[in-house]
């Protein structure tokens, strides 16, 4: 199978590889996929509580080149966006940007899931800290 130049570029030079402290209240972690399916993505975001802007994003992926490229691209795209803006990223945008063939569409779906899971995790943490004193923002 021939990969698009963008997939190869992300595979060879993945952006934002790494991990953030998953216990930090500012960090949301999404872990999606399953090893027996051949794809697992971990995507983490660090969000500024005041501005709701995603200031940092990191990923690690077990999967094919298209899965690696999809998650690498996802970290690039969420950085600098607010959490609400990041939720508007669609898997079809990823398919288009990376020219993924039909058999690789599930990689883009997984990347979208990873973004959503990370944001969900972060929001859950905010609700938990909000119920504590000092913080008032819902």
């Amino acid at each position: 199978m021939a990969y698009s130049d963008k997939v190869i570029d992300h595979y060879n030079n993945p952006r934002n590889v790494g991990s953030l402290d998953k216990s930090s209240p500012e960090v949301g972690t999404g872990l999606v996929g399953a090893p027996e399916c051949g794809d697992v993505m971990k995507l983490q975001i660090k969000v500024n509580r005041e501005t709701q802007v995603i200031e940092e994003a990191k990923f690690k992926t077990f999967g094919c080149g298209s899965a690696i490229a999809s998650s690498s691209l996802a970290t690039e795209w969420v950085k600098g966006k607010t959490v609400d803006e990041a939720l508007s990223i669609k898997n079809t945008d990823i398919v288009r940007e990376l020219s993924l063939p039909p058999v690789k569409i599930h990689c883009s779906v997984l990347a979208e899931d990873a973004i959503r899971a990370a944001i969900r995790d972060w929001k859950t943490k905010q609700e938990q800290t909000a119920s504590k004193p000092v913080e008032t923002k819902a």
């Binding site: 051949g38 993505m41 992926t61 094919c64 690696i68």
Partner: protein, 431 residues
């Protein structure tokens, strides 16, 4: 920390970045072909012998009335002798076909139809090639009963399972000699002995074995055997089927009818240049097999040691003891096979990963061994061949180690395992 992974953002955008390898390719020519179970290059000595049969000696070997036909026939008959000699058969027991898939079909369907009165039960194994499995499945639709034997963790069938599966309706046992993915050698001689004791015919798909390891149809009690040219440095599109003529005399119903070529078992004008090539490939194999087996096993072990000595959590799939000398199949935990292939794209090998298959299912052979899906996704098959060098083996090992390390730095599974998390205990959110 590996120096290969970093948060570096590439500049140019769409420009394809150079591969991030630090392994020197000074002593090798790229790309390297190490997928010799898929096919092999034609040996120049084979090609040389074939060429006149495309030009001066172009005759139809079935033309009885002129020298063009006789010359072609001589070429065919010399090939028949050479093939027979390599496997301990007589020339009249060799039937030419278009390749091993056709040979498997002819053997299984031919026996099934011819011996229908005697019984309708066929025994095979779950790790057979699709040419055998799908043929058996079709016969099931026509009322035949098929037993698919499981394999043990090492890839070998259990002879007691075979004994238990045999009944008075069993007409055929079809078990491959060497597996195309894991190179495991089945106990062919023991199976043959058992079949002959019970009066059951024994077919073996020996596509990966003939020309690589010694095969003797007499000593091994093989009744029918599939042979392919392009797996042994011959041309594609030609193969043979050994069909025993004595003790017992095997009869096959043809699946291709026509002019009655090949004693009625396979009609169609013979592929004379291809057959000449197969014959020459067998002659070379016969002469060089002892040294070649030793050389390939040496290279294979060198590859294995250079990979396994430098990486943790890598696993060999299938028996090392009962194995083709040129095969190694390794799973690299926490790394997905297709992404590994992508990282070593100057090397031609294969993966059991689902992503490399049309069905999106990981290798059914590895699954049959009890290898978990995750490790099946992480498997790479290396098939070393006649034309691979020691320098190539070293380059391949270095590139594999480099790429696995790079991808593990990228792998959340590797990170979790290193943190002491039991991956089996994680509740995975499948799509």
């Amino acid at each position: 920390m590996s120096t290969m992974t970093s948060d570096v953002v590439a500049g140019g955008g769409t420009a394809v970045a150079q591969k991030p390898s630090e392994v020197s390719s000074a002593n090798v020519t790229l790309p390297i072909y190490m997928d010799n179970h898929a096919t092999t290059p034609v040996d120049p000595r084979v090609l040389e012998e074939m060429l006149p049969y495309f030009t001066d000696r172009f005759g139809n070997s079935a033309s009885r009335n002129h020298s063009f036909g006789w010359t072609a026939e001589q070429g065919v008959e010399q090939a028949r002798e050479r093939i027979a000699r390599l496997v301990g058969a007589t020339p009249k027991e060799i039937v030419f076909t278009s390749g091993a898939t056709e040979s498997d079909n002819l053997a299984i369907k031919g026996v099934a139809e011819m011996y229908r009165e005697k019984g309708n039960h066929i025994i095979t194994a779950v790790t057979e090639h699709k040419a055998v499995l799908d043929t058996c499945k079709r016969l099931e639709k026509y009322g035949y009963r098929v037993t698919y034997l499981p394999v043990q963790k090492d890839g070998l069938i259990d002879l007691d399972d075979l004994k238990r599966a045999m009944d008075e309706k069993t007409i055929l046992v079809t078990i491959m000699a060497a597996n195309n993915e894991i190179g495991v050698l089945q106990p062919v001689a023991e199976i043959g002995k058992l079949c002959h004791e019970r009066g059951v015919l024994f077919h073996t798909d020996a596509t990966q074995a003939v020309g690589k390891v010694p095969i003797d149809v007499q000593k091994m009690n093989i009744d029918v055997m599939s042979i392919s040219a392009h797996k042994m440095y011959g041309p594609k599109g030609v193969g043979a089927l050994y069909v025993r003529r004595k003790n017992p005399r095997v009869q096959l119903a043809a699946i291709i009818d026509g002019g009655g070529h090949e004693r009625g078992m396979r009609s169609g004008t013979l592929n004379v240049p291809g057959i000449v090539g197969l014959g020459k490939a067998c002659a070379i194999a016969q002469e060089e097999m002892p040294q070649e087996m030793k050389r390939l096993a040496g290279l294979r072990d060198r590859l294995k040691d250079r990979i396994m000595g430098r990486l943790d959590e890598v696993f060999i799939n299938g028996s090392m003891e009962h194995r083709l000398p040129n095969n190694i199949n390794i799973s690299f935990a926490y790394v997905e096979g297709e992404s590994l292939l992508m990282g070593i794209n100057d090397i031609a090998v294969s993966s059991g990963s689902a992503c490399t298959s049309a069905t999106l299912e990981p290798s059914y052979v590895l699954k049959a061994l009890g290898t978990g899906d995750e490790l099946a996704h992480s498997s790479i098959r290396f098939g070393i061949g006649r034309f691979n060098t020691e320098a190539e083996v070293d380059y391949v090992a270095d590139r594999v180690v480099e790429t696995v390390n790079r991808l593990r730095e990228l792998s959340p599974l590797y990170e979790m395992a290193k943190e002491g998390i039991d991956l089996a205990s994680v509740k995975w959110a499948a799509e």
